[in-house]
Amino acid sequence: MPRVGLFIPCYIDQLYPDVGLATVEVLERCGQQVEFPEQQTCCGQPMANTGCTADARPVAELFVRTFAPYDYVVCPSGSCVAMVRQHYHEFFHDDPTYLALRKKTFELTEYLVDVLGLTGWQGRFPYRVGLHQSCHGLRELRLASSSEVVGPSYSKTRQLLGSLDGIEIVTLERPDECCGFGGTFSVNEEAVSCMMGLDRIADHQRATAQVLTAVDMSCLMHLEGLIRRQRTPLAVMHVAQILAGRAVPNVTATTAAGANG
């Protein structure tokens, strides 16, 4: 039985513990033996994205030390995985420990589909769901095809969600526009960031979504912040929470048939 190291990013650990628990439950439902190494903190993304590479490095080193012993590393956040997979290179170059870790670090839905080979997920979720494609998962991890690239279209996350009973995944006008979070961008460029977020939410509303979901809690944190301030009637859930069968906060269930008619 492979040992799976759970990587729960700092902000999920501190602010969205249920997303972490849902991730554990989803993995255990697939028979995975998961372990949460307690000395983990953060992947170093906030520092790296601000250009403070020297500050990011020791944090990245801690990450590699912590997770090197595992057979797989799984994380419910595309952008943190992208940090490890795409941006650690400048710290570790061809270091064999890093290169090995790079190959075995996965975003949650990517792990379910690519490593465990799942094509669907059992459960019932009778809601109209808007899937926000988080950029780093999309264009750095290629969890789905991006709208700019010409080629076959696919989405690993959608493949799992779409197989739930009663779910209707709504069609957005802009299938993969950025939500405007962007880490420190959200504070640095507050005006543009919030306008992007509000536009993203409006797209989901026009598509009559009841639940907005994504594989990245950071995008959702930003969108939820706007939704709560505006009192928009839209529930926000991480994909792991939907897969784990969590109840939808404050939204009445409908049948997919009811949704259509």
Partner: protein
């Protein structure tokens, strides 16, 4: 001497978004072009292969740019053109002025060239008693408004047709309140015809210069480049040294990508080829460096010189669409401009690499596969490394790093933070020092962290 202070993108962007309906209109207009681009790209099954090929051709060209430039010069000279070399904007402007003076030219019809914009050629020539008219409709509109272009392909994309109506009413005496595009375009056409007829020389940019043949190609949708240089004997073509491609047979790759990426057209309406002067005329080609060889020297940013100026990265950029081209305060705005300008002058353009949510859409859309978002990220570290980040940001990151290196301290402070946040009165959380909270609620502050809950869960499992 006037000292120009670096202008920050966030401030200008906030100003632009403050007019919400206008910002949304701007966003929609550009998104429309992006959608047209998607459709056009999808008509070619070989799109991704073309992109890869174009990227390789450009990489190869950059790897021996000196050789190709010399080959181009030799071939162009053989065809009767006169080739000039300019190290910087000043030299470029002086060369152009000298040519014009020699021919006693006072009126010039110019067709779109971002390079002359970059060199601020117009004000320089005006100072020396030369009138320059930008003959591309959009370019001319911004010229009449006395402002710089806000986009490299659609220079007047930020201007509404009502505003064009008012502008033309003032300058061309069109009917007050006219907004009909055909009517306005016709009025412009009439006026520009006079400009073309009165001009004594034509200046154009260059889209592609071919080393093998010494010829070059100018792409326009209005045919004005041809008019401007065919009606008189003197043609000056100004080009950045990165515009080169090795062979005539490479051209097809780029022409197929350019129009589709720029506007969603299969090809631009006019791809005009110039090989030497017209009979009895003179053709001057000014090759301009102006910081390009500095970029060519750097491993990180060399790839940015592959750019064919299609503007697709601007149209797709969610930040550009909502903040407007002028918010970048640079000749080339958007993702590629946020690389080219700071790569040359980081201090002046320090905020540009941060005017980006790192969504990477630009990288996926770019027809020559420039890794734009990665270069923007690298530029951020260049800026931090040169101490151009604000002191508070540097300190914040240093502290964050300190905490993240110490798991127990991190867990402890996390708990303290959540508890403090949960009891803080609203006014203390939501104030002007907290840009997050201006339009957003703060995230929840759960009583327990994941690691605490996980430990409890494990405890129960074991019990």
């Amino acid at each position: 001497m006037q000292v120009s202070l670096p202008i920050t993108h966030p401030e200008s962007a906030a100003e632009f978004t403050a007019n919400e309906s206008r910002a949304h209109w701007h966003d929609q207009a550009l998104w429309f072009v992006r959608v047209k681009r998607d459709r056009a790209a999808r008509t070619l099954n070989e799109w991704e292969a073309l992109r890869a090929l174009a990227s390789q051709i450009k990489s190869h060209t950059m790897s021996r740019l000196g050789d190709y430039l010399e080959q181009f010069e030799a071939q162009a000279t053989r065809r009767g053109a006169i080739v000039h070399w300019a190290r910087n904007a000043d030299e470029h402007n002086q060369i152009v002025l000298d040519i014009l003076k020699k021919h006693n030219v006072h009126r010039v019809a110019k067709s779109k060239s971002m390079l002359t914009e970059e060199c601020h050629l117009n004000p320089f020539l005006e100072q020396h008693d030369v009138t320059v008219v930008d003959t591309d409709l959009g370019e001319w509109i911004v010229q009449l408004r006395q402002e710089p272009p806000s986009h490299i392909v659609m220079p007047a994309i930020h201007i509404k047709k009502e505003e064009v109506g008012a502008l033309f009413h003032k300058h061309l005496n069109t009917e007050a309140g006219a907004t009909d595009a055909t009517y306005l375009a016709y009025a412009a056409r009439q006026k520009l015809r006079d400009v073309f007829l009165a001009a004594e020389a034509g200046i154009t940019g260059v889209n592609f210069a071919i080393a093998e043949t010494g010829g070059f190609v100018v792409c326009t949708n209005e045919g004005n480049a041809d008019l401007g240089v065919s009606l008189n004997k003197l043609h000056i073509a100004c080009m950045g040294i990165e515009k080169l491609i090795p062979r005539a047979s490479d051209l097809g790759v780029f022409l197929r990508l350019l129009g589709r990426s720029a506007t969603g057209q299969p090809i631009t309406a006019y791809s005009s080829h110039f090989h030497g002067p017209i009979p009895g005329g003179e053709l001057h080609i000014v090759l301009v460096d102006n910081g390009r060889s500095q970029i060519l020297d750097s491993d990180e940013f060399r790839g940015a010189l592959k750019c064919i100026r299609c503007g697709a990265c601007m149209n797709t950029c969610p930040v550009y669409r909502r903040s407007g081209g002028h918010s970048y305060h640079s000749t080339i705005p958007g993702p590629i401009g946020s690389i080219l300008h700071p790569a040359r002058d980081a201090a002046q353009h320090a905020t540009l690499p941060f005017a980006c949510s790192l969504c990477a859409s630009c990288t996926d859309v770019c027809p020559v596969k420039i890794n734009l978002h990665e270069q923007l990220l690298i530029l951020r570290s260049v800026i931090a490394g040169r101490k151009l980040l604000s002191g508070s940001k540097r300190l914040a990151m240093r502290l964050t790093s300190f905490v993240f290196q110490r798991p127990r301290l991190y867990a402890f402070l996390g708990g303290v933070g959540r508890r403090v946040m949960s009891i803080m009165p609203r006014w203390l959380v939501y104030n002007r020092f907290n840009p997050w909270g201006r339009q957003r609620e703060m995230p929840p502050t759960p009583r327990q962290s994941f690691r605490e809950l996980y430990r409890q869960r494990r405890g129960k499992d074991r019990a």
